[in-house]
Point group: D2
Chain length 313, copies 4
């Protein structure tokens, strides 16, 4: 299996069609992709503070890509299957960053309060666990904080999640999942980065256990199939991701996209799907710290009709 | 075990100290409490529409109570252990109600759009399941949509969740849980109602599988122990519930209350707890339809320090 | 003209039908009503801090009332004409209160940040001005921060604005304005308090120039005329007030109520009114600090059709 | 005075440094700039519907630019003085667009409701007025819906307002105003478009009276002077514009930027400025329909200290 690395370590900070592709990957070819952590490796000891070592937004959250998918055209859907995520350093890093996080004034929820004290914390990775402190080790549950396609016309900071995917920071984009993304440019132009060793729901402090990783992915195309927002499929679940502020709008988007999926592919009536989700739908918080917040709406596949086309029976 | 019924079926629609207690229950006595469904039994066939049969807010979501807990004083915390919830009719009811629900214009998110069509749906309860349609039956997962104490001075509609508990509509208030509520009046003055046979996260349509139920509860007091927002404890989890709009404020409240719990009882440093929750905290959507939205912040007890007082070790 | 004072200085902290009326005032009788400042006179020097001298919510924002209006029945609208507001002390008071205000973490927008430093500031009133500091004096622009009717069933803290009026903190409820409030109980049960010597849009710090005042009002009834949210009429404007969170919902409510008014009384088509407001409507921020935020939607009467019934011509 | 026109009518849809400059304008040179309406002239009769004639986002809101300002470097502030805005067609156009506007479900506030009916409306411009219907003419109050500098690294849709300016849709960017924008690229790279013949606060329907216009502007630079968000200065006011969701965050940003201005240039203490704004600050709704909502915080210059440096006296 080949490994794709960003040439000259020239990671990109926007999801955009302006960047030349770094590789072309045919459908159904599994590839390894090397990603670097969200701090671009600049925080290497606990005395390395974000405000001193990092250039700050939008020069943050470096991405590997774009990867060109032959045959992908606007109006298609790109299906990214996440096969594996392996840490490539012996540690992950987390931090408290001034004016960033879920329980502090931020550049958007602007206050006159003093920011929380800044700090950096290295979390050793050993034997499939992360050491949080002397008494607490956490099993690795790696996932991709950021993956997406280039949006139409725009070049959007890789810190932002949206209809193109991006920095969704949802734990569901992990090995075993297929992530559906809209194709908005020829070749799809896929970006990936920001692997997390683990993360709580909401990424409460704004920073997960950030790590460099080698990611194994494969791609498929659904030709002439349009989605409005990212979808995720696993053996057990159909999911949709909405990203917006306030958080209830992220939720509304995710539920509506999931209903649209049930109507389009599983022959549900929209209001029947709405009522079914009201009884058995699931939703956990993705992130509540990024420029858009993310929510993941889910339906366990046990609730799908056993005979296709009988969703409203 | 005695059964408490609301005298003369005179259910109440506010959580308030103005109502005379309907019973007194000593700590550690298990009691059965009969609750009526959120529509007060007015929707008995699928031709019974909410707008025609029900008086509308605030005369909605009838509660049994208040129940007086001897010894409870302001500054204490009431711990309500939910032992059992049994349906007492052969059906639950759900509905689409105009200008109410998560994916429609509402009286607060006001639009000029036409409301969705109104409908009522009876869901037969048989053998521990709920029949949704001909091909779909859902296992009962009963919980209490509404439970709370009388707030200080105010009389708040039982449709509203807040610091006193109330209409949180969180699936976590189910058998096996202990719900911690602030005592704000002498005798605590506890109310309960709005049992749900099951509900998806968020109560998306605004209406769960609403049922009348016999609820088995017991009470305990934590004297001179103050909480700011409801907490829930199970064998496996510490949880806190925040209720507010927008949804991110509900989340912030819940996380902060949970951190306060970790600091007060488990000797965590606040910022250490904040970072731990950023890595392993859990949060699912409670409701996104009531006058305040609710979010539940959770920490699995596996992350508590094994030796009390070493949370920040 | 008679003057109504709260008996025994027993000001009330909720808008509710549980309080016995303190006076009955016939329609078209002008009365003076003595109100006390939002701190109930407890902050009398700059060393009197809120957290030390005041009991805190919900024992805050004392109201005079309820005043019974003979003939008022549910389904009517009470029209309150504000004739005059006179300060009755030689000063107003403002303050910074921990976890309260527009640019600081609050009990709802909960953070772990340190609160801003608490302070109290007396603002001398002289010759129709308020002295802010040695170089700045501000002309008095008195208005009523809080006025409303008792809601249906509930007893709501006088800190909260809502469909019943309450703590809207909008500068438009000033002499020269008629405030329309829904009648939800027999006798309307009117409350008033929280006079402000002046206030910026939004009441940014959470505290205006709070003063005790003698308020001259008169009442009228619109029989069998229902409104959903408060309206305000002046010689020049039709206005509606929405109170909710997030702020855009307060705006949506206010615009929709104003459109409803144009449709009901001025024969507008709803979408015509919507488009007219899109071109000439006005909206300023009422408050962004209270439990619900308030926005005021306005239409200058110059845009009303000169011949009634031709709004959509 | 020279007139700048977009070469080949190749208007741009993003604010970005990827576009080659269309002109270079020295500081203090007044220039005329031809802008085209937000629909790029595609709606020319009332039977031209947006969904049929226009390509939809992000190919919307065409801009003239970028204009290169010699000497401008990152870390400077560009001051754009708006001298005149003249309509260049005999009409403006407004419309109702499905899933867009303040009182309807949208792509972000997603609902299952049917959209409002689509329509297009031409508004003749005659003698300085706009004809809304047979009985209503509205005086022109032209302003620029969109003006901004290229952001750092990103290419952002011209539909979006943010720290770089953009689609703020605030009536205050009108003749007589100087708009301060951050310089984030060499040459500043200024864009302008989306002139409005008039607009109500909030741009309630999502569409103002959209017109093509000839705009007279001049530029100045404040070297080594950083701002975080756009500011506006007139003879009478200091203002700052915040753009975010929910609306209260737009407000917080605007107030904080205005306080920062008072501290930096007028020697205010931050908390003194906060309290002064709480008493005399003004804020009206900019837009509540764009991808970010906008609010404008204002301080009348009468409240500035007469002797510089005595703001906290």
């Amino acid at each position: 299996m080949r490994t794709i690395r960003q040439p000259d370590h020239a990671y990109v900070y926007t999801l955009s069609a302006v960047h030349p592709p770094v590789a072309s990957v045919a459908c159904n070819e599994s590839v390894r992709i090397q990603t670097i952590d969200a701090f671009e490796g600049r925080l290497r000891s606990e005395s390395d503070l974000y405000s001193e070592k990092c250039p700050g937004p939008p020069r943050a959250n470096p991405q590997t890509g774009p990867i060109y998918i032959p045959g992908a055209e606007p109006g298609d859907t790109l299906v990214v299957t996440i096969e594996d995520i392996e840490p490539t350093e012996g540690y992950a890093v987390t931090a408290l960053i001034p004016e960033f996080g879920g329980l502090t004034g931020t550049t958007q929820t602007a206050t006159l309060d003093e920011p929380l004290p800044e700090s950096t914390r290295l979390l050793p990775i050993e034997d499939g666990t992360l050491r949080f402190n002397e008494s607490t080790t956490i099993p690795l549950q790696p996932f991709l904080g950021t993956l997406g396609t280039a949006p139409d016309l725009e070049a959007i900071s890789s810190l932002v999640p949206g209809y193109w995917g991006g920095n969704m920071d949802c734990v569901e984009t992990c090995p075993g999942s297929s992530v559906w993304l809209p194709v908005l440019n020829e070749g799809a132009l896929f970006f990936v980065g920001d692997a997390h060793a683990c993360q709580g729901d909401g990424e409460l402090t704004g920073v997960a256990a950030e790590m460099s990783a080698c990611v194994t992915l494969s791609f498929a195309l659904k030709k002439n199939y349009c989605i409005h927002w990212p979808r995720i499929e696993t053996d057990d679940y159909l999911m949709a991701v909405g990203s917006a502020r306030p958080l209830e709008d992220a939720a509304r988007i995710a539920w509506k996209e999931l209903i649209g999926w049930l109507v389009a592919d599983y022959h549900f009536d929209a209001l029947e799907a709405y009522q079914l989700l009201g009884l058995v739908g699931e939703m956990r918080l993705g992130n509540m710290v990024d420029p858009n917040y993310s929510m993941v709406a889910k339906l366990n596949k046990r609730w799908l009709p056993s005979v296709p086309g009988t969703g409203s029976a």
